[in-house]
């Protein structure tokens, strides 16, 4: 039979089983999505199909057949002739997937020369065609370009080109768009879909994002803890999931926390005409540095208890703006004030939660010390007893126990760490909390619970939020008002629902159109 079939795949690591009895198949021209939360084994499945498992992991049972060939029976040398020729693979991180010291031409022609044994000029001609096919035409992207001269999306196109240039029977794409901006993601997904139709190859698409699955896959395989939970036609599984886990995953993906009552408070944070420039590269050896403007005349207001979203793609200046609001960066022009006072003077009233639950804490300190770090801002540090009481209060407010204060950060999961980060942000009883991609690194089920917590805290404490995210669905679910940022400027702002329903700026419209959405299967027909 043609296509790829996996039967009863079991993989074991030093600490126990990694994959258990995984079976699925992908036919020519078919798109099969592997989905699941982190640790579900979806990436390990891909690596074991390629027979590129990390050292220490071993396939214990199961059969992988590709067009009638039993891959398990091949020698390593024979397998090398299968990889890149009959199965191609695309990885998550385009920034590091290409060799930085080789031109893109050399990297694409290498696949061609390796498998087809063609002459250099033939290979180069074919590489040009292939790069043009993936959207990198020769005129703008000659073969002599280096990876660092390309953007993330362009690099991912190069990786795709070198994976498909031998017209493989199956392409495995492991989270191919997770590291990309939403508009780029849409383009790459379109490209993959077109290539599948054109080449008649099977595509195994590994993704955690059910919205992407819904828009792409013919069939869906849901994985959990190294095993397959359920599989079937995408529409069918998503419309009428049989397993509880699939239902829970689906519910968490489209979860919208109960909205706290909207408040029409007095203005709290007022940002006026803020400009932040950095010294750029010098023009010539002794020329002046041309300044790079990261934030270009931004004004915004956040009211008491108001939940405001800030969306934009990477490099739009939202991180710089965030740091300026936190008082961590000087601004060249404009003012940032809280209740009329400059932010540097009232730092304790604005606190922050960052994205990375693993990098946000000094690994050497106990939770007690981590949570109480903002006490440094107080003119008089609370005494031991009062401090302990406030740490306990903050921990309990975020759903942890007071007794957790004696533990170290590595004893907590990612979701619990974001709760601790929230406790640290709450301890000074601030008016405004900046949430900088605070749920972006979390699995959907954990994310849903953190969003509930945020909503609950806002309702109880009257907190205002500045919610910065690249994820439009999340912003839509938790904010009252939204600002759209592009190239250092706010291009649109308004009530969240109004902006999403009828965007006025073309960039906003583009962003919304590009964002994959999980369709409401009860009301909609399938769209391409």
């Amino acid at each position: 039979m043609s296509g790829l079939a996996v039967e009863g795949l079991c993989v074991e690591g030093p600490a126990g089983p990694i994959l258990q009895d995984v079976s699925f198949a992908v036919g020519p021209g078919e798109i099969v999505a592997l989905t699941g939360e982190s640790g579900s084994g979806k990436s390990m499945t891909a690596l074991s199909l390629m027979r590129l498992l990390p050292e220490g992991l071993q396939q214990k049972a199961g059969r992988v057949t590709l067009g009638g060939t039993d891959l398990g029976a091949l020698t390593e040398r024979q397998m090398c002739r299968v990889r890149g020729a009959r199965i191609g693979m695309v990885f998550q991180e385009p920034m590091t997937a290409l060799n930085p010291v080789q031109t893109i031409g050399a990297q694409v022609t290498e696949t061609l020369r390796l498998h087809a044994g063609v002459r250099r000029d033939e290979a180069e001609a074919k590489a040009r065609d292939m790069l043009a096919r993936v959207g990198l035409p020769e005129e703008r992207f000659p073969l002599t370009r280096y990876p660092h001269e390309l953007s993330g999306g362009q690099r991912q196109r190069v990786v795709i080109a070198l994976a498909i240039c031998q017209r493989p029977e199956v392409l495995i794409a492991d989270e191919p768009t997770t590291a990309l901006d939403v508009t780029t993601q849409a383009q790459i997904l379109d490209l993959l879909r077109a290539l599948v139709a054109e080449f008649g190859m099977g595509l195994i698409l590994i993704t955690h994002d059910l919205a992407v699955v819904a828009g792409m896959a013919d069939r869906l395989v849901v994985m959990k803890d190294g095993g397959v939970v359920e599989q079937g036609a995408t529409a069918e599984v998503l419309r009428t999931p049989r397993e509880g886990y699939t239902r829970a995953l689906l519910a968490a993906s489209s979860h919208r926390p109960a909205a706290p009552p909207a408040r029409q408070g007095t203005p709290l944070l007022q940002v006026r005409d803020v400009v932040r420039t950095y010294p750029g590269a010098r023009a010539g050896l002794f020329g002046a540095r041309r300044p790079v403007t990261a934030v270009d005349g931004v004004s915004l207001t956040i009211g008491q208890g108001e939940r405001v979203g800030l969306v934009g793609e990477s490099g739009c200046g939202k991180s710089t703006l965030t740091r300026a609001i936190l008082g961590l960066e000087p601004v060249q022009a404009g003012s940032i004030a809280l209740d009329g006072q400059p932010v540097e003077a009232v730092r304790g009233r604005i606190q922050v939660v960052f994205q990375d639950p693993y990098g946000s804490f000094n690994p050497r300190h106990r939770v007690r010390r981590l949570v109480s770090e903002p006490f440094h801002l107080l003119p008089r540090r609370p005494g031991t007893r009062e401090g302990a009481a406030r740490v306990a209060e903050a921990l309990e407010a975020v759903g942890l126990r007071a007794s957790d204060s004696g533990r170290y950060i590595h004893e907590f999961s990612g979701g619990q760490r974001q709760r601790i980060a929230m406790a640290r942000a709450l301890i000074l009883r601030p008016d405004l909390i900046v949430l900088d991609e605070a749920v972006s690194a979390l699995d959907v089920s954990v994310r849903a619970r953190i969003l509930d917590l945020l909503s609950d805290l806002s309702a109880r404490l009257g907190l205002a939020y500045l919610f910065i995210s690249h994820d439009l669905a999340v912003v839509r679910g938790v904010t009252e008002r939204v600002l759209v940022m592009k190239a250092g400027r706010i291009v649109e702002e308004g009530a969240t629902e109004a902006v999403f329903a009828a965007p006025r700026h073309p960039y906003t419209a583009e962003l919304i159109a590009a964002a994959p959405v999980l369709p409401d299967w009860t009301a909609r027909e399938e769209s391409a």
Binding site: F91, E93, A97, V101, P142, H148, E149, V159
Partner: protein
């Protein structure tokens, strides 16, 4: 290679050249200050405190110590730029000529040792990294641990004991000069070069091994394997060139150590190189010679670091663009 001569590349070169010149300027000021200003009166230092006042005065006159320090410094630097390193007080000959003679021993010694240590370290490091965690790797690691612990001058003494005294394959020291043809001279440099190279090779092997292991964990190696390259092909075509970047840094630093180490090894083998010159000059308190030889050594190290910077740009296209 594509896109070579861009303005950015030019800027990188100019910046490196500016740093080269600035480093040389600061280094020369430092050396001049330590030798001629810190001790007070160089003439007294050279002749000792028991010297007769009129001898000291004569030397002061000869060295031109009546002039101010900045003028003397500029004079010294200007002379060096013209190839005039002054006149040795003890030998009464131009220092430039003495250095040139000695350089014909020290430079070949350092270069042979550098080539030898690279020739040993690259294959050994690659072999160990490719067989990481297996017996071959453990063997190489053990050998490098021992190699790093051995002082090169002691290793030189052992080589003399075994190959000169017991086996009689080489002379125990001395240098016939290049006049008698290259072979006797090269033969006299074999044991010194081996003594210098082996401990350095141990260090370089470790650097090569760890750089390669780190590179092998990179995503683009996985991409290369997914293309259908064997492990060996992935190492040769993708990992090596990337691993070369940290290795180059150490290679540059090693040249400094080989030059300095050569000074000591020359003592073991009685080689008439810069090392012997500098120790003779120190015991004769001939500051003029010390000053010039130290400046030359420092110049060599700074120059090699400059060349390493250029090599980076050849290896890494990202630097050319910066």
């Amino acid at each position: 290679m594509g896109g070579g001569a861009r303005p950015t590349m030019m800027r990188y070169l100019l910046r490196r050249t500016a740093i080269l010149i600035a480093s040389l300027a600061v280094a020369s000021v430092l050396i001049f200050a330590v030798i001629e200003i810190v001790p007070g009166d160089p003439a007294t230092t050279m002749l000792g405190i028991n010297a007769r006042p009129d001898t000291v005065a004569a030397l002061r006159e000869e060295l031109g110590l009546g002039r101010s320090a900045p003028v003397r410094y500029l004079d010294w630097v200007g002379g060096m730029l013209r190839g005039d390193f002054g006149t040795s007080y003890t030998y009464r000959t131009p220092v430039a000529g003495m250095i040139a003679d000695r350089l014909w021993v020290s430079l070949p010694l350092a270069l042979i040792a550098l080539a030898l240590s690279t020739a040993i370290a690259f294959p050994a490091g690659i072999y160990a990294a490719a067989r990481r965690g297996r017996a071959g790797d453990a063997g190489v690691t053990l050998a490098t641990q021992a190699g790093i612990a051995v002082p090169n001058f002691w290793f030189a003494m052992i080589l003399v004991l075994v190959f000169s005294i017991n086996l009689g394959w080489f002379g125990a020291g001395g240098f016939p000069g290049w006049g008698a043809g290259p072979w006797p001279a090269l033969k006299a440099l074999v044991l010194p070069a081996v003594a210098l190279a082996l401990p350095q090779a141990a260090i370089l092997t470790r650097v090569m091994r760890s750089a390669l292991i780190e590179t092998l964990g990179e995503d683009y190696i996985r991409t290369a394997r997914a293309k259908g390259l064997t492990r060996g092909q992935a190492i040769r075509r993708h990992a090596l060139r990337n691993a070369l970047i940290p290795v180059l840094t150490i290679l540059g630093l090693q040249f400094a150590f080989l030059l300095a180490g050569g000074i000591i090894i020359e003592q073991v083998f009685y080689l008439p190189g810069l090392g012997r010159l500098i120790f003779q000059a120190i015991s004769a308190r001939d500051l003029i010679v010390v000053e010039s030889v130290v400046m030359l050594l420092v110049f060599a190290v700074i120059l090699v670091n400059f060349l390493v910077d250029l090599a980076y740009a050849a290896v890494d296209p990202r630097l050319r663009a910066r």
